[in-house]
């Protein structure tokens, strides 16, 4: 039989047989997964499950023991990827002694982005009124948003965001997820980590990670179906128990 459905665009990230050791401990073992283009993929799992390590692998700053990692068609860490992949680290990686705008201008200059791009990303993370504040004087949530803004500078094709909504109030969280979905609608690919299952419903696809292994993948609906639970927290627990049993 011939399948006439249009072929899905090739995935933005393909990981095959990945093994990573950090400080002598195997953090990720024989991990294989793919992340679809133009969608928001949620990387969910408890603290210590390997989410940050996987993200570091994808942006090419992690030493890898085995496996192949292809990002936008090239091996992870290829120099040409550095201007196509935006990365937000878990702890805000910004210069505390500079203003918000000075921080973003530095990133914009390195990425050769248009000067008005700085104002666009400030708007996107709702930090436009704070552009001239020194980062050290901001609250934790505001610092996190500056860090997120640095990942958005230069309009990258792929965004790797490590817990971008942690510590933010519900209104802001909702707005950010809306912005992420709009970015995906405009053709960007987003990989967003979180340890809060409530956020899973904002994602198109899910990767559930536990102790360095994938517990489940699929859309939120299919994860519910696989587990037979409506609540995603319970679904996660059910899937883990299934694995253990």
């Amino acid at each position: 039989m011939i399948d006439y459905r249009p072929m899905a665009a090739s995935p933005s990230i393909v990981v095959d047989g990945l093994r990573v050791r950090r400080g002598g401990v195997v953090v990720l073992d024989d991990l294989s997964l793919s992340v679809a283009s133009g969608r928001v993929t949620g990387l969910l799992g408890p603290s210590g499950s390997g989410k940050t390590t996987l993200m570091r692998v994808i942006v090419g700053v992690q030493i890898v023991e085995a496996g192949s990692i292809t990002v936008l068609g090239e091996p992870a860490g290829t120099p040409s990827l550095r201007s196509k992949v935006g990365y937000m680290t878990q702890n805000p990686a910004v210069y505390g002694d500079l203003t918000v705008r000075e921080n973003l201008r530095y990133f914009a200059r390195i990425l050769d982005a248009a000067p008005d791009n700085v104002d666009e990303v400030l708007e996107m993370v709702a930090m436009a009124p704070f552009g001239d504040r020194v980062v050290n004087r901001l609250s934790g949530g505001q610092k996190a948003r500056v860090s997120l803004a640095t990942a958005l500078v230069g309009n990258p094709e792929l965004l790797v965001l490590d817990e971008p909504t942690v510590g933010l109030d519900p209104v802001l969280r909702r707005d950010l997820w809306k912005a992420f979905n709009e970015l995906a609608d405009s053709g960007k690919t987003l990989l967003v980590s979180s340890h809060v299952m409530d956020e899973a419903d904002h994602c198109h696809d899910l990767l559930l990670l536990r102790e360095g292994k994938l517990v489940a993948t699929g859309t939120p609906a299919s994860v519910r179906q696989q587990s037979g639970k409506q609540d995603l927290d319970e679904a996660f627990l059910a899937l883990i128990n299934e694995e253990v049993a």
């Binding site: 400080g23 700053v61 120099p79 680290t89 990686a93 505390g96 500079l98």
Partner: protein, 245 residues
């Protein structure tokens, strides 16, 4: 390496200094104060002031830049901004050259200010031209910067980085020939002195200020100073890792 990224880094480092007026004031005015104290200390022995004043002008920037660079680079490593920069289209050399340009400018300013005070107000008189002192001060500052950059890889905290100053710099000041002529040192001390970069930085200053001699030995001094700078920068660059475990 790209001019844009190097320039962006230099601007960023200068902005950080501008946002920290206290450090900037300390950098610029402490040497002036010290030279004034020196002049007062030897007010009835002008010869001593004339002898050590010139070389000291050229050594202040070395010490100051060593401290500033080792702490700033340690902060980049610890705060996560270095990891963030390594995921950007930015060569290691861009970071180093950016720092060198920014701190080189500050060192030049520092050297000019202290020279104006010493030569203009305190009556310091040297054999060689004052501009030679300023030029040597800048090249010494860049030597101090590259040494500071290198040792920052061996510190985990700012306390440790500060301790490198007495451990690394003070023995070199004692042995460089400023306090005792090298010809009067015991053999082993003389050998140790031969192996330390400060010795050559001091000797160049001594020749330029006291003897007005720009001879073969002066050229050797300069060559060693520049050689050690390049070596320390290369070793320092190798401690900036794109991928970490």
């Amino acid at each position: 390496m790209s001019f844009r990224a190097t320039f962006a880094t230099a601007v960023r480092v200068l902005n950080q200094l501008r946002r920290d007026p206290r450090t900037l004031a300390l950098l610029l005015f402490v040497p002036v104060l010290l030279v004034f104290l020196l002049e007062q200390l030897f007010s009835d022995r002008r010869m001593v002031f004339q002898q050590i004043g010139g070389p000291l002008l050229g050594l202040f920037p070395l010490i100051a830049m060593f401290l500033v660079t080792s702490i700033t680079m340690l902060r980049e490593r610890v705060s996560g901004t270095l990891e963030r920069l390594m995921a950007l289209p930015l060569a290691k050399l861009d970071i180093l050259a950016g720092y060198a340009i920014a701190f080189g400018l500050v060192a030049a300013l520092q050297a000019i200010l202290v020279s104006v005070v010493a030569f203009g107000l305190l009556g310091l008189d040297t054999q060689g031209p004052p501009w030679a002192v300023v030029l040597l001060a800048v090249s010494n500052a860049i030597l101090g910067m590259s040494l500071g950059l290198f040792v920052s890889a061996f510190a985990r905290t700012e306390f440790q980085a500060i301790q490198f100053m007495p451990a690394f710099i003070l023995p070199q000041i004692l042995l460089c020939g400023l306090f005792t002529q090298r010809s009067q040192m015991a053999g082993w001390m003389r050998g140790l002195s031969d192996a330390l970069p400060f010795t050559y930085a001091y000797d160049a200053l001594h020749r330029a200020t006291q003897l007005g001699l720009f001879d073969g030995r002066f050229v050797l001094d300069l060559t060693v100073t520049i050689g050690v700078t390049v070596l320390a920068l290369t070793l320092g660059a190798s401690t900036l890792r794109r991928r970490t475990g």
